[in-house]
Amino acid sequence: MKIRTKDDLQQIRAKLYDHLYNPSILKLNIGMTSCGIAAGARDTYHKALELYADQDVMVAPTGCLGFCEQEPLMEILAPGQPRLVYHHVTDEKIEEIVEAHRKGEYLEKFVYGQVTSPHSILDEEIGDSAPDLISPNGFPNFEETPFYNKQFKIALRNCGYMDPGKIEEYIVRGGYFALFDCLNNKDPEEIIGIIKASGLRGRGGGGFPTGRKWETCRKAHGEPKYVICNADEGDPGAYMDRSILEGDPHSVIEGMIIGGYAIGCNEGFIYVRNEYPLAVVRLVESIKQAEAYGVLGDDIMGSGFNFSIIISTGAGAFVCGESTALMRSLEGKVGRPRAKYIHTVEVGYRNRPSTLNNVESWANVPAILTKGAEWYASFGTEKSKGTKVFSLVGKVKNTGLVEVPMGITLREIIFDIGGGILRKKKFKAVQTGGPSGGCVPESLLDLPVDFERLTEAGSMMGSGGMIVMDQDTCMVDVARYFLEFLQEESCGQCVPCREGIGHLYGILKRICAGEGRNGDIATLEKISKTVSYLSLCALGGTAPNPVLSTLRYFPDEYETHIRDKKCAAGVCKGLFYYDINEENCNGCHVCFRKCPQEAITGEKKELHRIEQEKCIQCTICYDVCKFDAIDIK
């Protein structure tokens, strides 16, 4: 059927409301995005299908709830019973968990919490909203657990709460109502005004005011215009875009159609990185479904507005996340960026005005148009409105995707939501902004997270990657790592970036190999200045940030590497050695068994010894020792 009226949308919503919230039979929602699958969710899903093939049990895939550390996650809905989320549900455990649940026994070992507010944040504006569920005795409220209680999901509003393969469920959650309202009740300038008033800034890293970008593009000369979604997500450590594309693809599609209408264009592209095949599949399915329902394609919802979306894939180039390089890649060319004084909103794809926005930016659009600009602007700080999704990863306990209002402190994210450092180690730094960003040390943990504050501290928001590092991370090695990456990914067309990064990397490599020289630090700083001032694009322009921020906050680590040829963190091979701590070693023999070089000698229950000539510093013994008996010297 083609949706033509708001009533059509309401009818679909009414028809499937119960299926989503009050199913009449047992329903298993299994998190099936790439991280869930990597943790074994596909096996769990197939096992569920197998077990319940002939029974009155629904098995459905959902997007990612964000708490990736606990994957595979499964939610069980049963009439008259609490709605529980279970964690670490492997194919071996699912049967016992489900059977117990059916009997009213809820296996404590696997219960994460009870969901009390499963409904969409858009419900109030759409129509009726069912009341919250009552919490049963004993279980923590899902939304109040430390991982979730400081989060507020706007971009991730539907992830984990619906089957991403079903447009109807997106509509139940309030989807496509904003589009209907825009096409029928608002004109383009009004929509742009709302986006401007909301304060939405680009979520891909640039932080450029989205409303202003749309406005400039709308006014630019040239036809046809284009709307592009940057789903290249090249920052290593960031995967929030993947999660949105796999868990709620329609939020991006709806956002783009609204954007196209506001700017005055009829064609959109979604450029997805090659490494996200599941995202591509979800997008293609969603586009087909949207076309079938008439919310995409010709004469959308009877409004006379046409809009189509084409999917294009990347082929493995980080620089293609840069907007001008992306457009070259879309044109089938090598992804070499162009100077930024030529604005893509005026001369972009095929030299026509183009609006490029990040996945997360697009996903926010329908919510802003449904709930209003003031609502969105009520979150965040003065200059950074709304919420941001961060991928909290690295040496932190609760790894996953978190969406928090801007202005929350780093300490709250890492220690309250994140649960602190793994294995009781000491926090050292948190890296934000990907290869363009920098490391923030402990002294700045109370920094409120927003665009300006992070830049002042020598880092940047970037796409939202937040990598937590502990005492076992060598900051010089981190700088070296990023420069190695940037050198590989540099397109090579301008001298400052191509040669400059090469030199910076060369110096850092030498330092990490114990061949640092006096004057290296001064040289690093000097080259960094040149590279950042003179590079053609932001890849080169921000390349020195990892070096400069680690030099700023951890200068002693550089000194020790250069002057003493030592790596205190135990990372740079040859600049440290492992030694058994005589007091702590109890002869448990584990390191002996695990050492791949058979470099450890010792009898059980007696002090062990490492034979330094055989040791290749692979870190296995250090990682497996439970008694803190391996020292770094």
Binding site: A38, G332, G434, I467
Partner: protein, 169 residues
């Protein structure tokens, strides 16, 4: 649901493979309308079919689409997914993204290089494994991560990944 759209070739394809020109022509014209903008996607389809980009196929594309071979060569060498040499039967990809790096991915890479006797980017002599590095496949919470062909191995370590390799012929 969740089925991946690739039809990856996991058998070894010799460098002087017979290119299906008719099929290639259909790909260029019927599927991609002969548009130069679709060059990258055409090359991706060829890469998937042959597990690398055979020179005769590139010659054909160059002549058919009126794009110089040097331009095509530029694209084939700029984008990491393309290979001008045949790959092995099993593609082992280690993620070296920041989150995985911080959780020991470098050591994982060194261990695998040692075990297979090749450096990353190369293929074993018996064509059994190609070892590559990738910068982030998006499973950062479960690092370190490695993939073999299409399967992702999360929360892996030096020992586990060696055992995983045994499963692949």
């Amino acid at each position: 649901m969740g089925e991946l759209a690739h039809d990856i070739v996991t058998h070894v394809v010799p460098p002087d493979v017979e290119v299906d020109f008719r099929g290639l022509d259909d790909l260029i014209v019927d599927r991609y309308g002969g548009a130069p903008e679709n060059l990258i996607m055409i090359l991706q389809a060829v890469q998937r079919q042959y597990n690398f980009l055979p020179r005769p196929a590139l010659n054909y594309i160059s002549t058919k689409m009126n794009i110089t071979l040097s331009q095509i060569h530029g694209i084939a060498t700029f984008y990491a997914m393309f290979s001008l040499e045949p790959k092995g039967r099993n593609l082992v990809s280690i993620c070296l993204g920041t989150a995985c790096h911080v959780r020991g991915a470098e050591r994982l890479k060194e261990r695998l290089e040692e075990q297979l006797g090749i450096k990353a980017g190369k293929t074993t002599e018996d064509m059994r494994y190609t070892l590559e590095t990738v910068r982030c496949i998006g499973c950062c919470s479960l690092g370190p991560v490695a993939t073999v062909n299409e399967k992702t191995y999360a929360r892996t370590d030096q020992e586990k990944i060696i055992k995983v390799l045994e499963l692949y012929e």
